[in-house]
Symmetry: C2
Subunit: 139 residues, 2 copies
DNA sequence: TATAAACCCTATCGGAATAATAGGGAAACA
DNA sequence: TGTTTCCCTATTATTCCGATAGGGTTTATA
């Protein structure tokens, strides 16, 4: 299940990508337009800033803006930053690998094998989908 | 993230499919061989029984057995029974659809659009993968 | 330089879901 | 008749999520 954090994060990025002619967008505006709790959204945008996806400008007239072109922001990166691993099981995660407690041999584990295929399939979608594409497709 | 319930369920099915020459397999055996809590496994197998995937035989020499051929047990069905929806967001779920509270128009929602593609991709894997295939691939 | 707008950071909390445990009941076979 | 094994319900411990609270810091601008 996708967390609301990730869901809101993608919505916010979408909003910024649509509106922004490089002008910062304020939390309050996104919060209102997308029906997201102000404070919660604040923490999400902060995460995206630390991840190097968004930049922020303080003070009056400030807000958040895309640090790169929307076509350089891939969904795989966004989801990894907000949600964590894309894999459904740590033992098949590329960026968050962890061995299972049970399961003496991964190569003989059917769950491992199955989830590996699911991960590859999912990654195939997310890795090739940029924010720019997503926005233009959905308009 | 895949729950342990689902993970254990798939492992148990695998075990039964491998071992069974139509003889019932006891919870205690699977529990020991696959390092799964006995009582927890019990509830999982019960779920699979109610789902029409496993049959059970009581009394001495009893246990659980596959109700159909392993090639007729698709992973999509197993996961839906144990985990619930395959989609990462209720608004793109085929079997567990639910509208989002926020989001006035699904067609214009980038999250909806993205998760639709992920679901289709995942389903493509799970729908075409039978228990029999999985077992033979992993041996 | 004062002020207000806006981002930045930490802590906390309630509720839901998960993983596991406990204890007994009912059926089937020897 | 007694043992094995599945069947069912309830409870608990833990973790995570979503949200809230409250204040701090920076910056533009009047």
């Amino acid at each position: 299940m996708l967390s609301k954090k990730t869901k809101y994060g993608i919505k916010a990025l979408t909003y910024i990508a649509k509106v922004s002619d490089k002008n910062p967008v304020q939390i309050a505006v996104i919060s209102k337009e997308e029906n997201i709790s102000h404070k919660f959204l604040e923490s999400i945008l902060l995460t995206l800033k630390k991840a190097g996806i968004l930049g922020a400008k303080k003070g009056k007239g400030g807000g958040y803006y895309l640090l790169r072109s929307a076509s350089d922001v891939m969904m795989s990166e966004v989801i990894r930053q907000l949600e964590g691993p894309i894999a459904m099981v740590p033992c098949v995660s590329l960026n968050f690998y962890e061995k299972c407690d049970d399961c003496p041999d991964e190569d003989k584990c059917t769950v491992h094998k199955l989830m590996l295929e699911v991960r590859d399939s999912t990654l195939g979608v997310l890795k090739n989908k940029s924010l720019a594409q997503l926005v233009s497709e959905t308009n």
